[in-house]
Amino acid sequence: MKKLALSLIVIALTGSWQIASAGDVTGKVTLKGTPPPEKPIAFTDTCSPLNPKVTTTRHYVVGKDNGLANVFIYISKGLEGKKFPPKTEPVEINQEGCNYHPYVLGVMVGQPVRIKNSDPVMHNIHALPRVEGNQEFNFAEPSQGDVNDTKWVSSIKSPEVMVKLKCDVHPWMFAYVGVQDNPFFAVTDQDGNYKISGLPAGTYTLTAYHLKAHGSTPGVSQQITVADAPVTANFTVEVPAPQ
């Protein structure tokens, strides 16, 4: 009886592990080459006290073993015609220290986005989408603690890689949001790692897009096949050759 119970537990655990891991895509994005030095940000008098350390631009954030952060990973082919309900957990874009946090993020169409001002200074939030169906917006968050969770959802209704957000009061403040109509996307962490979970079995084109290295091109892609086992897909992003 004891043995049977143990066997059942092992089977259940194995099964649950298989459910969790099948459809997982993990990997690392590595930067090849030496990026140009980042530019220091010249803060205004009101923002300087909020940033006692020297702050630079975040074009190339490189971590351990040349892992490249802030790369948006998404399925560019293979999910056509499939519909997914929007995620319900809200994503937060925080204005803190006269900068956007995070710098790059991904959201689903229809997913709640909370835009928050944690600074004791005024900010305006100006979104500049380029895809038809998405509407440019510009609104103010004049006080510390101001939160808006409706503007994004009512304005951004189509997938777009990437929508730029900027603050015109502080022109060095900008961030990017990758918008998808499915939940299978990720942004690489400080060391270039990412994980996409729950991708149904099938063959897909997985794309990695870095704002500076890829610009107006779609980014780098590779084909992946998701079956019973987790998939690993690594990418290499090259620093563009000097002009």
């Binding site: 140009p36 030095p37 980042e38 530019k39 220091p40 940000i41 010249a42 205004t44 008098d45 009101t46 923002c47 631009t57 074009h59 200074v121 005024m122 305006n124 100006h126 500049l128 440019e136 917006f137 510009n138 609104f139 103010a140 004049p142 730029k164 900027k166 603050c167 015109d168 009061v169 502080h170 022109p171 060095w172 403040m173 900008f174 500076k212 290295a213 890829h214 610009g215 107006s216 091109t217 563009p240 050759a241 000097p242 002009q243």
Partner: protein
């Protein structure tokens, strides 16, 4: 072209002259401030209009004028000041005839304000204040004679233009339409020219100018007018470049990406964008923007040559002491300064102050060209008309028999 003054009031004439010049100077300051707003990329830092962050524009606390808001908000306040000055100028050109208009207008504002009070108390108070002020002023309004009709019309056109300019600027903010910014910037230049011309017509210099004493046998008037038109087109191109919000589409000068004509293939443009490490949120550059900057450079060369030729011809045919030659030389000096500022804009990586000086100097180039053209048309008569007049004069001197014989 002279004033028909019913009851000359020298002090008022001097007052109008000074006021018109002051309005033109303030307009120049406004153009400068508008240029600074675009150069700093802070045009949308105040996302609402006509309010500022929900406050009535005139009561927006100074403590909140931070970062880009300072430039945008002070630009709005300066624009309101210029609008008010233009309103007064347009009225002043009507002389004593403005008194009834001020009274009726004042009454209308008070009535409107009273109507607005229950729902929009702030606007109601503003409207009533303006009305009371207009009524009050109407009793002390200068009793000088009205300016000639054409000049009064110019005053009205200036008033319409400044209102349109304000609305255009506001709509650019509320509609988030970048293209409107181009029209806003271009109309600003035209408005500056118009107000400067009104100021010119008040000057003693203008009244003393001999009218059509010389025939324009060498088409000098066209040599003033055509480069002025080119400068206006150049300013429109410049406004288009600036309102792409993409920074410098070509970062070097006199070469362009190290070449005489840059590669604008998609691969090359992609490479240019990848290599930019901007600290502010510029839009990516495009091939169109690169071509536009090249057109701007070529046009600058054409304008420089055209103004140089104009100054040379004026000196050659009119002499270097002639007012038109002096104006042309001043113009050429401004164009040279403008070329240098254009180059400096690139060499400094589009430093906001230098780029704004480039905009302001461009406005001065247009105004100098425009006013010089007006002066040239006043001083130099049409060669055809002059020829006919001379022929008539000669004919009148000849005995009638010789005319008959000639026929």
């Amino acid at each position: 072209m002279t004033f028909a003054i019913v009851n000359p009031k020298p002090a008022e004439k001097i007052g109008l002259k000074r006021f018109a010049v002051f309005t033109a100077l303030m307009t120049f300051v406004l153009v400068w401030m508008g240029g600074l707003v675009t150069s700093k990329g802070v045009g949308l830092s105040v996302p609402d209009w006509p309010n500022s962050y929900g406050y009535n524009m005139f009561f927006f606390p100074v403590s909140k004028w931070m970062g880009g808001i300072f430039y945008e908000h002070t630009h709005r306040l300066a624009a309101s000041t210029v609008g008010f000055l233009t309103l007064v100028l347009a009225h002043w050109l009507f002389g004593y005839k403005s008194r009834p208009a001020l009274r009726w207008g004042g009454g209308l504002f008070i009535l409107t304000g009273t109507g607005l009070m229950p729902k929009f108390p702030t606007y109601g108070i503003e409207s009533i204040s303006v009305g009371v002020l207009a009524l009050f002023v109407s009793f002390f309004w200068p009793k000088c004679a009205p300016a000639p009709k054409w000049l009064r019309v110019l005053g009205i056109v200036a008033l319409i233009a400044v209102i349109a300019q304000g609305v255009l600027g506001g709509l650019r903010v509320t509609l988030l339409a970048a293209a409107l910014g181009i029209f806003h910037a271009t109309l600003a230049q035209l408005f500056f020219l118009l107000v400067s011309a009104i100021a010119l017509f008040q000057m003693d210099f203008w009244r003393r100018l001999p009218v059509h004493t010389e025939a324009d046998r060498h088409h000098l008037r066209l040599f003033f007018l055509l480069p002025t038109c080119l400068i206006f087109a150049q300013l429109a191109v410049g406004a288009t470049m600036r309102h792409q919000h993409a920074g410098l589409s070509i970062p070097d000068f006199p070469a362009a990406y190290g070449q005489w004509w840059p590669d604008t293939s998609p691969a090359a443009v992609q490479r240019y964008n990848e290599n930019r490490m901007e600290a502010v949120s510029y839009n990516p550059i495009t091939a169109f923007q690169i071509d536009l900057q090249m057109a701007h450079r070529l046009m600058a060369l054409v304008i420089f040559v055209a103004v140089g030729v104009c100054a040379g011809r004026a000196g050659h045919f009119l002499g270097f002491r002639h007012p038109l030659t002096r104006l042309a030389c001043l113009w050429l000096g401004l164009i040279l300064t403008q070329v240098f500022l254009g180059a400096a804009t690139i060499w400094t990586g589009k430093s906001a102050d230098v780029a704004t000086a480039h905009v302001a100097c461009g406005a001065l180039c247009l105004v100098t060209g425009g006013l010089s053209s007006i002066v040239s048309f006043r001083m130099l008569g049409s060669p055809v008309a002059q020829g006919v007049a001379e022929k008539k004069e000669l004919t009148s001197l000849l005995p009638s028999s010789s005319i008959t014989g000639g026929l």
